[in-house]
Symmetry: C2
Subunit: 248 residues, 2 copies
DNA sequence: ACCTCGACTTCTGCATACAGAATACTGTAT
DNA sequence: ATACAGTATTCTGTATGCAGAAGTCGAGGT
C-alpha cells in the first residue's frame, strides 16, 4: 500500500497558525486524484480514507465538501462520494470556458499591464523557450502554467484569477499529457501575445489568446482519440489495515 | 428574533431521498445573507447558528464550507466564519467576469440554438416586455434572469452554465436594486440579441451581449454611487435563547 | 436456473464530547 | 487614567458514538 502522507506544511501563513487538517486532507486527496491513485468513478468511503490518512472522518468529510464544490468528486447524498469521472464532452466544455476566461484576461492585461509586468512575461517566455530548446518538458509545462497565470494576474482582476485558477486545475488534470504533444508552436504564439499586450492592443491580445487556447483544445481532442485513458493502478482504499498513527 | 425556519423541501428529487440538513442549512443561510439579515462582515458563530436553526454544529460547518467555496462567507482557519463583505472593486470584477462568460454563452447559443430554443427566447422576451409595460418590476426581473439563463442553456455547455449560475447568484446579491433602475432599454437590447442568435451570427450575439452586460455594469456603478448601502437590520445571532426543537 | 424476499452488513448523516487556541476581561501597577 | 499581565471565557478543530438508510448476500420458492 502506497504511503499517503499528508503534506507537512503547504505555504507560508501569516501567523504560525497550524494548517487545519481538512486543508491538508484536501491537498492530499486532490493529488491522489490527479495522479489517478484514486481512480475516476471510484467510491470514496469516508472511514477508509480516514484510516488511510490517519485522521477522523470529520476532516475527511469537510475536504470532500470542498472537492465536490470544485468538481473533483461527486457527492450523492445518502450514498457517498465518488471521484468525478469527466466525460470527453465535459473536458471540452471546460476548455471552452477557459478559453473565454483567458481571452478576457489577455484583453484586460493589454489594458492594464505596465512595463514591469511585460518584463515578467518576457522572462517567463524566455524560460519556456529555453526549456523547449533543452527538451525539458517538465520545465516547459511549468513555465507555460506560470506564463498564463501571470497574464491573468496582470489583468488586475482578482475574481477572474480565482475562476481561471479553478478551471485550470481541473483542466490540467486531463491536460498534462497534451503539453508533450505541442511545444514549439505554442511558444511562438506566446511571443505574439506578449507583443500585443505590450502595445496595449486589447482586441489582438484577446484574439491571440483565444486562438492559442483553441489550438490547445484541438490538440486535446486529437491526443484524446489516440490514447484514450492513461490507466494508473489505483490505491487500494478498501484495505483493512489497522489505524497506526496520524500521518501528519 | 425573526423565525428562521429551514425550507421543508427544495426541489423534486429523483427518489424520495430526504434532503440532507446541510443543504437546507446552506439554502437558509444563503437567503439570510442575500436578505442582509446576516450582515456583511458579521462573525458567524457556529454554535449560535446551530441553535438558531435547531441543528447541531456539524451541518452548519459543512454548509459554511460550501458557502465559503462560493464566496458567500470567508473562513479564517482557527478564527471563524464571516459573511463576505464585497468591495466595490470586487463586485465590478465579478461583473466583468460575468460579461465574459455571458458573451461566450451568446456566441455559442448563436451557433447552437434551434428554432425551438429561439421560440423560448422570444416568449421570455415578450413576457419581459409585458412586465415592463405593466410596470411590474418583480416579473421583469424574473423574466430577465430566465432569459439570460435560457441563453446560457442554449449554448449547450453545461460547465459554462454552472459557472454563470454561480457568478450570477453572487452578482444578484448586490445587483437586484439595479433592475429598478434600467428597464426598457434593456429589453430592446434583448430583442437585438435574439435576432443575432436566430440568424446564427455568433460574433454579433457575443458583441451585443457584452455591450448589454457592460451597460448593466455602468448602471451598477451609477446606482452604487447614489445609494451606498441598503442597510437591513441584521439577525441578532448572539441570542442566548434555549434550543427549542429542530426548525425543520 | 432464475427470481424474490428478508436478514445482515456497511456506510452515511447527525449529534455530542473534548482539547487547544484565541479573545475578552479584570485587577493591578505606574 | 492608562498600560500591562494574568485569568476566565468563548469558539474552533477534531474525535467518537449512534441511528437510520442503502446495499449485499443468501435462502427459499417457482
Amino acid at each position: 500500500m502506497p504511503s499517503t502522507e499528508l503534506p507537512q506544511q503547504m505555504s507560508a501563513r501569516r501567523i504560525d497558525r497550524p494548517v487545519p487538517l481538512r486543508e491538508r486532507v484536501y491537498q492530499a486527496m486532490q493529488e491522489l486524484i490527479i495522479s489517478r491513485q484514486l481512480a475516476p468513478g471510484q467510491h470514496l468511503v469516508e472511514s477508509e480514507l480516514a484510516e488511510m490518512l490517519g485522521v477522523s472522518r470529520q476532516p475527511i468529510r469537510e475536504a470532500l465538501q470542498l472537492l465536490n464544490s470544485e468538481g473533483w468528486v461527486d457527492l450523492r447524498p445518502g450514498y457517498g462520494a465518488f471521484v468525478h469521472a469527466p466525460t470527453d464532452a465535459e473536458v471540452d466544455q471546460l476548455l471552452v470556458v477557459r478559453a473565454a476566461l483567458e481571452a478576457e484576461s489577455a484583453r484586460l492585461a493589454a489594458l492594464n499591464a505596465d512595463t514591469e509586468g511585460v518584463k515578467r512575461l518576457r522572462k517567463l517566455c524566455a524560460e519556456g523557450e529555453a526549456a523547449v530548446a533543452a527538451d525539458d518538458i517538465d520545465s516547459m509545462v511549468a513555465a507555460n502554467a506560470e506564463l498564463h497565470r501571470c497574464v491573468t494576474e496582470l489583468s488586475g482582476n482578482q475574481v477572474l484569477l480565482d475562476f481561471v485558477s479553478q478551471v485550470d486545475r481541473r483542466v490540467r488534470w486531463y491536460y498534462t499529457p497534451i503539453a508533450r504533444h505541442r511545444g514549439i508552436t505554442s511558444w511562438q504564439e506566446h511571443a505574439r501575445l506578449i507583443d500585443a499586450i505590450e502595445q496595449g492592443d486589447a482586441e489582438s491580445a484577446a484574439r491571440i489568446m483565444r486562438e492559442h487556447t483553441e489550438h490547445t483544445r484541438q490538440s486535446y481532442l486529437e491526443q484524446r482519440s489516440e490514447n484514450p485513458e492513461p490507466d494508473v493502478a489505483p490505491v487500494q482504499v478498501r484495505s483493512r489495515r489497522r489505524r497506526t498513527a496520524p500521518n501528519l
